[in-house]
Amino acid sequence: MSEGNNIKKFMFVNRKAPYGTIYALEALEVVLITAAFDQNVSLVFLDDGVYQLKKAQQTKGIETKNFSPAYRALEGYDVEKLYVEKESLEARGLTEADLLVDVIVLGCKELGELMDQQDVVLSF
């Protein structure tokens, strides 16, 4: 179906913490569904969005599904480009070692340039 010239660059921008609102989970579901369309997909975690990738989430106490393990399944869906903004991590006292998946850490300027290159940007 998808010839080379039909492939578009899709970027999903995640800026919300998990559980407090539904945005993080909705974004993840959209990414998992659209992975079937063989597009060039990247995910960006910015501001409180970086909290989505924090290790050690334990949701038993709030009786909500812990969806954080699904970020590790993204690789199997051929979604391999996960970008995290350096400034957002630092403002939250987090390092790559606190995150449950391998990510590419970019400064805000590089991230802005990457955004510019996209065909479609979806913000959550």
């Binding site: 800026r15 919300k16 913490a17 998990p18 559980y19 407090g20 609102t21 501001d47 409180d48 909290y51 924090k54 290790k55 050690a56 989430q57 334990q58 949701t59 038993k60 106490g61 709030i62 909500t64 812990n66 954080s68 403002a91 939250r92 006292g93 987090l94």
Partner: protein, 98 residues
């Protein structure tokens, strides 16, 4: 008075506004506000400063859900749902900063 905050301190001004307006009392951090109860982030200084004027509580199940149970600022008091209810009854009134 009990002040209940449920928004992240780094993307929403409700905790900032609460700390500016309220002079003393209890603050309970729940949902996305629990990040404010943790150390290492850009808001930590403001919480430490506020601890002189307020008693600060955090809802433990919300902290665990977000993977931050091991980063609570010393002096911030964790409570469970029962403790949440107790705080609403021991205070004569309460405000949810939405």
């Amino acid at each position: 008075m009990l002040h209940i905050i449920n928004k992240s301190p780094l993307t929403n001004s409700s905790l900032d506004s609460c700390l500016r307006v309220a002079q003393s009392g209890d603050i309970l951090l729940i949902e996305d506000a629990v990040y404010a109860a943790t150390f290492g982030n850009a808001f930590e200084g403001k919480i430490r400063e506020a601890m002189g004027r307020f008693k600060i509580y955090v809802l433990q199940p919300d902290l665990e859900a977000r993977g931050f149970a091991d980063r609570i600022i010393a002096g911030v008091l964790p409570v469970d749902y029962g403790g949440f209810v107790d705080l609403t009854t021991t205070n004569k009134n309460c405000q949810s900063w939405l």
